[in-house]
Symmetry: C2
Subunit: 195 residues, 2 copies
């Protein structure tokens, strides 16, 4: 049973250790920003820097783990039909809409959607880290220059995670024009108990 | 007048808006991890993701700014004789020493040095973000693989920042073997009032 995240929205939920979370791109070409916090102490949060350090790559896929600011593994990527994700960029927000799309209506973006979804768990907006941006296509040029290109995902592509400890998860269907090729699409996810 | 940061140690201090901070590599081949917080509300902190987003590059040098998690510019890089720094990796720590150097004595690393230096400012270890790693040489391969190579700095190379708001700064002389080519060296810095 999958749950749908409507275009330009977000949701938060908890996982037990061992639970399996699968995030689908039902139509292809969409991005989903994911953040994860320790459920018992949300000051522990996924960290792109610790993950890059310990996985020795910025390209995370099946076989890699996402690590926390306390150097604990939070999520293992167990399957990945997409193979291309980003862990460099922060969620789109009111400020990034004003900066990158000055002629478009301002949207609270994935940042605002995550902040609203995480508030009931006592997590402040300031505690939203660089997200793991599922399906996001951000090539790094030889000179370090980065671009945001449309995702290469096809309908039904997915990434599967195993929770390595009890977690609070925030996840979105991305709101920005560039990251999804100019259209806004839903994201589906499914949780399977590890027990 | 420069101040010396002894090998494998760290320090914290405040800057006023407009102050100029210069960080020198006096011997060449050394790394210095820098973090910055808003002085009035340290929940605002430098963010590699916001910086990559808004500067559209992972290679930061003169002309670039370091941005906060609230999308405000914190520091402008005004001069840079080194030209090569890293904003991908987190400070070395007890955990990274155990992971990368299992046969060497464990050291609290830049992370522990920053945590101790920032504690009097009410900043917890959990609030230490991915640091701006001055002079650190971390090439990203085409497949996303990252390496930590010795810095290319020569004695006297420096980077100069202008504080764009009142800040708390933490800065180290790096403690890890790989990042400085296996030796431990000091770092010098100087603060010039912007007034």
């Amino acid at each position: 049973m999958t749950t749908r995240i409507e275009p330009r929205s977000g949701i938060a939920f908890t996982l037990d250790a061992g639970d399996i979370l699968t995030v689908y791109d039902p139509e292809g070409g969409q991005v989903s920003d994911l953040v994860a916090y320790d459920r018992d102490d949300p000051r522990e949060v996924i960290s792109n820097g610790r993950t890059f350090d310990l996985e020795e790559t910025i390209h995370l896929t099946a076989g890699n783990r996402l690590w926390s600011n306390r150097s604990n593994p939070m999520l293992a990527i167990t399957e990945d039909t997409a193979g291309l994700h980003d862990f460099l960029l922060t969620p789109c927000s009111v400020d990034t809409f004003k900066h990158f799309y000055p002629d478009k209506p301002v949207h609270r973006g994935c940042f605002g959607n995550l902040a609203a979804a995480l508030e009931p768990y006592g997590i402040e907006a300031d505690s939203i880290p660089t997200a793991f941006n599922i399906f996001m296509n951000v090539p790094v040029g030889q000179n370090g220059k980065i671009e945001v290109l449309p995702p290469t995902t096809k309908p039904g592509d997915y990434i599967r995670f195993e929770a390595l400890k009890p977690l609070i998860i925030g996840v979105t269907a991305c709101s920005a024009y560039a990251s999804n090729g100019g259209s806004f699409k839903p994201i589906d996810f499914q949780i399977d108990s590890g027990r």
